[in-house]
Amino acid sequence: MLREILAHYNYWIVIVLMMTGFYIVVSRGNLVKKLVGLNIFQTSVFLLYISMGKVAGGSAPILDPDIKVYANPLPHVLILTAIVVGVATTALGLALVVRIREAYGTIEEDELDLMDDEA
Amino acid sequence: MSGEWLILGAVGLPLLASLLIWLTGGSPNQRETVTLAAAVTLFVIVGSMLPLQLAGAPLRVELLSPVPGVAIAFEVEPLGMTFACVASFLWIVNSVFSIGYMRGNDEPRQTRFYVCFAIALGSTMGLAFAENLFTLFLCYESLTLSTYPLVTHHKNDEARRSGRTYLALLLGTSVVLLLPAIIATWVLTGSLSFEAGGIMAGKVSPLVGGILLLVFMYGIGKAALMPMHRWLPAAMVAPTPVSALLHAVAVVKAGVFTVVKVTVYIFGLDYLRELATADLVLYLAGFTIITASVIALRQDNLKRRLAYSTVSQLSYVILAALILSPLSTMGALLHIAVHAFGKITLFMAAGAIYTAAHKTEVSQLAGIGRRMPWTMGAFAVGALSMIGVPPAAGFLSKWYMLLGALQVEQFFAVAVIVVSTLLNAAYFLPIVHAAFLKPEASGGQEPTGPGHGEAPLPIVLALVTTAAGTLLLFLFPGPALELANMLVGR
């Protein structure tokens, strides 16, 4: 039982990271912290993909007569794309935070809500 | 070939006229010439269909079908023919009356009034000739929408409030109940066409059919089955010509016309006998007749009294349709025509009184018969027709209803008809009595002076015509009876 749990340690890390990130997004009012949470959340998925491509004892998929076992490169390539998307999302999110700060003078969610109710 | 064009002409002409009326709005004379010309032409078109119809020639036209199998199509059949004849003839009379009334009372926004009126008539024609429930539903809704501006004509708070009731009840019932009932019919039978003998027999279980019947009856809000009748008194805030043609003829008749259409051509009389709720609807109609008559008794406002009388008379048609004997179905058809003539006369008389004397309450009418003999004479004829006394045509329809009811031993219906006749007499005869026999109430310190006389000529002309029509319909019921015979396939 314990063995089985420990054997899948990569998934446990993924789940913990995912929930941590998700919790931060939901619970933090600071917009930058929300983005940090979002990043952790996405990173957990990157790890999920990367770890699933790993084959025990496998090497990088390079054509070489000495190498018999390869790791699956496809998830790694996929996640490269997802990382790019993640970077773009973070950049856009941070840009929005800057603009929000310029327009409102704060990046705390509760304060933002109050300010627009008055307006 | 020509038949198709006649139908399209009948439906399209009022719509074309509305456009012309809008364009000639700047000049009242031109505008009213267009209205009158359109009304006369429409009557000629509809009239020319009558011989074709009596000869049994099929008159049918299909335009397009948004959903496969559900087309916008028109077909002439006896019931629709009767309705169209009555409505188009009364449009002429009512146009004459409108001109007198609207000018006599200096009403604002007259162009809008005539435009909406013409659109309402076009919808009525479409409704009368609808070949299937879908087309009928479209015309039904467009009739509601085109009469809404007429009800709110005065644009004051009362008009707006009444308008909201009007729209909410008519649109509400039709969208919430009628439309789903139509779609259910479509799903269950695969057809929406009006066919002799109905389309439901053998396809819909009596239980579902019974529920559908109730949904249809309450979905057709224009038929004013209680408690869906409140829009009709509310609509009385409109100028009298609107009440006269639309809320005594076109709109309300559209309601009961739809009821008869649905009972005869969708359910079919034989199938209805299997339904448990057919009797229930009959009782509801009976209840409406009696209750509305009692309410009418207590109304002092003349137009409101007439409105409740209309609610009661409409349920006659529903009652007659659900007695489920061919004779009473004939009575239903006749009553649509007969009540139209009688009630429009009464409304126009009310309008005449308002125009000439600015009186709106029943209690103010003592002695008015001597000042306005023609008006009150016509009123008396109309009242007799409502009660159903010969030589007014109202007798005819009640006679057939009673015969039908006795034939199938539907004694509840017989009792309702008898009691309501007494009630009708009780709320109409005192008006006639007071108008002719009571002395005019002296208005306090104000000298009676020269006072008012008869209403303007167009008004008098119009109401005398319809009163005469009521009598003529009794004396020469030939074509109407022939259509009624065709309806029940005799």
Binding site: V25, L31, L38, V45, V85, I100 | V67, L138, V175, V176
Partner: protein
């Protein structure tokens, strides 16, 4: 097929994709608009060509870059996504016709060419989602369209556009990531990302926990993107504060494309048996859909900002679409697709008409719009046509949607559902009526100068969309036939 015709699937995405950097290079608003407009016209023509080809030859497969599936990315075009492609590109073209005057009014000079660049990217993303036959590729295009729409929404005039966009960004990213997790789990179990391969391999392992988890993640992720109640919270603000052109485009297309992906995954890849018989997707979709119908319409009644009103109405309308999906019959899916099409038309028409109003009076609040009926008769005519279509008045496109939806519900034997659909439509009557009452029956507010009709370049596309609402209420062959054939293609196993 030879020559250009054979490469239409690639061109469908590549043309708008290349328009985006060209806009950047153009640097001027006028030129950028022209580039995107031409690209959008070409995309519409391509979509029409593809639709025609699917009618002629059935499903088309296009290996991107010559790499055959399942190694390469495959573009697959059948009637179902040809329908969506046509809708998205056609709406985009009409909205772009409308855009210049509106953009000049609402977006600062110097940013306008960037606006068009983002628009092109958003269009690329939406078209890509629809056309691709590769699950991971869906994610990529989903993010392309989402990222560009966050930017587009943030360009709105009010500062609340920024917070709305941020909120959308957070929720959208979570949705997309959920989808990504689901796709990852599927890949783990099947070793493929190609949709056709997934479809073939899933049945053997469908009871394994990762597949169940994948299904849940994908459904929730897409429901978030599609703004299904209660995951709709990002939508009202995003639609309300975006520039009018963006509201019109996104409201008409973005959520629809997500719903299409949902259809594709549930009915084609996982299969209706798995989703509706083994798992309770029926109730999972039905209950939120019904609540959305009521909650959306009910919230719309209390809005004084008409764009927000329409945004809440979108929540309700998405409920109708999902309801069709939840019925899980061919008739239900066809009804959903028909409503996807018709709702796109009506919301585009309505938002465009509101844009015209905003262009003239600088506000779309009910009280500011009072009495406009007389001053902007044509815009109002479009608004009325769109509003009637929203209600489902006969002879409008909306009626056709309701007709097929109710018919499908009857067919499934769910009478009570019919009652609910009808009752919720009555709520729509209330808010549309409030709008009409303000426009036609309320006096002009004091101090408002005389208002002229909107400029022709905005008015004509608006009227075109309004006319489409009427036209597709009369001649329903195109949407209905495509939707019905699409439904049979999407549903690989009938369960009823």
């Amino acid at each position: 097929m030879s020559g250009l015709a054979a490469h239409l699937p690639a061109l469908q995405v590549v043309v708008p994709l290349f328009a985006a950097p060209l806009c950047l290079l153009a640097g001027r608003a006028g030129l950028a608009w022209l580039i995107v407009f031409v690209a959008s016209c070409l995309a519409t023509a391509t979509a029409a060509g593809l639709a025609y080809q699917t009618f002629q030859h059935g499903t088309l497969s296009y290996p991107l870059g010559g790499w055959a599936a399942p190694w390469g990315i495959e573009y697959v075009v059948d009637t179902a996504n040809a329908f969506i492609l046509l809708l998205v590109s056609a709406i985009s073209t009409v909205v772009l016709m409308y855009a210049p005057a509106s953009v000049d009014r609402e977006i600062r000079q110097g940013r306008r060419h960037l606006f068009y660049c983002m628009f092109a990217l958003c269009l690329t993303g939406l078209l890509g989602i629809a056309i691709t036959g590769d699950a991971f590729n869906v994610f990529v295009f989903l993010e392309i369209s989402s990222l560009s729409s966050y930017a587009l929404i943030a360009l709105g005039g009010h500062r609340k556009a920024l917070t709305a966009s941020f909120q959308y960004l957070v929720m959208g990213t979570i949705g997309a990531t959920f989808f990504l997790i689901g796709v990852g789990l599927l890949y783990m179990m099947t070793g493929t990302l190609n949709m056709a391969d997934l479809q073939a391999r899933i049945p053997a392992i469908q009871d394994s926990r990762p597949v169940l988890a994948a299904f849940a993640f994908i459904t929730v992720g897409l429901a978030l993107k599609a703004a299904l109640f209660p995951l709709h919270l990002w939508l009202p603000n995003a639609y309300a504060y975006a520039p009018n052109v963006v509201s019109a485009f996104i409201a008409a297309t973005a959520t629809k494309v997500s719903l299409y992906v949902l259809l594709r995954f549930t009915f084609t890849i996982f299969g209706a048996k798995f989703a509706f018989l083994d798992l309770p997707l029926h109730w999972v979709l039905l209950v939120p859909a019904v609540i959305a119908m009521f909650a959306g319409s009910f919230s719309a009644i209390f809005q004084r900002d008409v764009k927000r009103m329409l945004a809440y109405s979108s929540v309700a309308q998405i409920g109708y679409i999902v309801l069709g999906i939840a019925l899980s019959s061919a008739a239900g899916v066809a009804a959903a697709l028909i409503h996807i099409f018709n709702h796109g038309l009506m919301k585009a028409a309505l938002f465009c008409a509101l844009g015209c109003i905003f262009h003239r009076i600088g506000s779309v609040r009910l009280e500011a719009m009072a009495g406009l009926g007389r001053e902007m008769p044509w815009t109002m005519a479009a608004l009325v046509a769109g509003g009637f279509s929203l209600l489902g008045v006969p002879l409008t496109a909306g009626f056709i949607s309701k007709w097929y939806l109710i018919e499908a519900a009857f067919e499934a034997g769910l009478w009570w559902l019919v009652v609910l659909v009808v009752l919720s439509s009555m709520l729509a009557v209330v808010y549309v009526w409030r709008l009409l009452e303000a426009l036609y029956f309320k006096p002009v507010p004091e101090g408002r100068a005389a208002v002229a009709e909107a400029p022709l370049s905005m008015l004509l596309p608006t009227l075109l969309l309004a006319a489409a609402n009427i036209y597709f209420g009369l001649d329903t062959r195109l949407p209905v036939e495509m939707a019905q054939s699409a439904a049979t293609i999407l549903i690989r196993e009938q369960i009823w």
